[in-house]
C-alpha cells in the first residue's frame, strides 16, 4: 500500500468523523447510557481486525496464534455482549409506564 491509498483512507476517515458528529446532535438525557452502550458495540468492529490478522498470516507462530486468538475472543465479546446488553437496556427503558408507544414485538 502506498501513500495515495493511505490518503484515500484518511479522506474516508474524515468524512466518517463528520457523519458521526452529524448523527448525534440532540440526544435526550435518558438515552445517554444506551447510546454509549450502542456505540460501544459498534466499535466492536475491531473484531474484523482480529479476523484479518489470523486470516492473512499463512503460518503464524505460536505467540501470534495466542495473541490473535485472544484478540478475536476479546473482540467477539465486545460485539456480542455490547449489542445484547444495549437491547436489554432499551427494553427496560421501553417498559417504563408512559413511554410505551410502539414496537411491542421485540
Amino acid at each position: 500500500m502506498d501513500y495515495t491509498a493511505f490518503l484515500t483512507n484518511v479522506a474516508i476517515l474524515v468524512l466518517a468523523g463528520f457523519a458521526g458528529f452529524a448523527v448525534i446532535s440532540k440526544v435526550p438525557n435518558t438515552l445517554h447510557t444506551p447510546l454509549m452502550s450502542g456505540t460501544n458495540a459498534i466499535h466492536g468492529i475491531v473484531v474484523l481486525g482480529a479476523l484479518i490478522v489470523l486470516g492473512t498470516t499463512p503460518e503464524p507462530s505460536l505467540l501470534m496464534q495466542i495473541v490473535g486468538f485472544v484478540a478475536l475472543v476479546f473482540g467477539t465479546v465486545n460485539v456480542i455482549g455490547g449489542f445484547v446488553v444495549t437491547d436489554r437496556m432499551l427494553s427496560m427503558f421501553k417498559a417504563k409506564p408512559g413511554t410505551r408507544r410502539e414496537g411491542e414485538r421485540s
Binding site: 460501544n40 478475536l72 476479546f74
Partner: protein
C-alpha cells in the same frame, strides 16, 4: 470477490449510520440497535469471505465461539444497576483487541520491516499502528479500573499520588510516544526490536491505570464514555494500519459521536471533561 466484500462493507456502513440515528431517538432506539447489529453481522460475513483461503479456520471458529459463549451470559444476566460497569468492561476488551492486533501485526512483519503489501515500511502505517497501540492499551486498563471502581472492588474515591500525578502521567505519555518513535526508527533499519514495542504497550497500560484511578466514582459514566470514544478512534487507526475501510468508518463514527456524547453527558452532570480528567479530586470537587 473483493468487489463483493467492499459492496457488503458499504451496506454495513449504511446500517451503522441508520442504526445510530435510531439509537438517538427514544421511539426508534430498540430498532436502531438491531439495525446496527445487522450491519455488524454483514461486516463480519464480508470479512470471513475475504479471508476464506486461510489455513487458520479452526482457530478463527474457536475464537468466535469462545467469544460468543463468554459474551452473551453476562450481558443477559447482569443487573440493571450493574450495566454501566459491564459496558466499561466490554469497551476495555475492544481496546485490548486493538492493542493485540497491533502487536500481532508487529510480530508478523518482524518489527514493521514491511507493512501491508509493500516490501518496505510505510511510515504513516507505523504511526497509525503505534497510535492504535497506545490508545487501545490505555483504554483497556482505564476501562478495567472503571469496572473495578463501579463494581466496588476498588474504592470509588479518588486514588491519587497528589501533586506528582499529572507530571507522572505526562512522563508516561512521553515515554510511550518516544518508544513509538523508536519503533519507527527501528523499522527503517530492518525491523524494530521487540522491546521497543513492549515499552509502548507497558507505558500506555500504566498510563491507563494512573489516569482513571484518581477519578471519583460519580464521574465514572463520563469517563467510560470518553474511553469508549477513544476505543473508537483506536479502531479507526487500526483500520488505517490494516487498510480495512469498515474499521475506519465504524471506528471513526464511534470516535466522533462518542466525543459529542461524552460532552453531552458531562454537561448533563454540570461537569466539564477537562475538569474530570485533570481533576483527580474525585466527585467532591466543584465542577467546571
Amino acid at each position: 470477490m473483493t468487489a463483493l466484500v467492499y459492496g457488503l462493507y458499504v451496506i454495513a456502513f449504511a446500517l451503522f449510520i441508520y442504526g445510530l440515528m435510531g439509537l438517538a431517538g427514544p421511539r426508534t432506539a430498540v430498532r436502531g440497535n438491531l439495525v446496527a447489529a445487522a450491519g455488524m453481522a454483514v461486516a463480519v460475513a464480508a470479512t470471513l469471505i475475504s479471508i476464506r483461503e486461510t489455513g487458520n479456520w479452526i482457530l478463527i471458529i474457536a475464537g468466535l465461539v469462545v467469544g460468543i459463549v463468554l459474551g452473551i451470559p453476562p450481558a443477559r444476566r447482569v443487573k440493571v444497576t450493574a450495566m454501566p460497569q459491564l459496558v466499561a468492561l466490554f469497551n476495555g476488551l475492544g481496546g485490548g483487541t486493538v492493542a493485540l492486533i497491533a502487536f500481532a501485526e508487529f510480530l508478523e512483519s518482524d518489527g514493521f520491516s514491511h507493512t501491508g503489501d509493500s516490501a518496505t515500511p510505510v511510515l504513516a502505517i507505523i504511526i497509525a499502528s503505534v497510535f492504535a497501540t497506545i490508545i487501545g492499551a490505555l483504554s483497556f486498563w482505564g476501562s478495567v479500573v472503571a469496572f473495578l471502581k463501579l463494581q466496588e472492588i476498588l474504592p470509588g474515591r479518588s486514588i491519587s499520588l497528589g501533586a506528582v500525578q499529572q507530571p507522572m502521567n505526562l512522563v508516561l505519555l512521553l515515554v510511550a510516544i518516544a518508544a513509538g518513535v523508536g519503533v519507527g526508527i527501528g523499522s527503517a533499519t530492518g525491523g524494530a526490536p521487540l522491546w521497543w514495542f513492549v515499552i509502548v504497550l507497558a507505558a500506555a497500560s500504566v498510563l491507563g491505570l494512573t489516569v482513571v484511578l484518581p477519578i471519583g466514582g460519580a464521574d465514572m459514566p463520563v469517563v467510560i464514555s470518553l474511553l469508549n470514544a477513544l476505543t473508537g478512534l483506536s479502531a479507526a487507526a487500526a483500520g488505517l494500519a490494516l487498510n480495512n475501510v469498515a474499521m475506519i468508518v465504524a471506528g471513526m463514527i464511534v470516535g466522533a459521536s462518542g466525543t459529542i456524547l461524552t460532552n453531552l453527558m458531562a454537561k448533563a452532570m454540570n461537569r466539564s471533561i477537562p475538569a474530570i480528567v485533570a481533576g483527580g479530586f474525585g466527585a467532591s470537587s466543584a465542577g467546571g
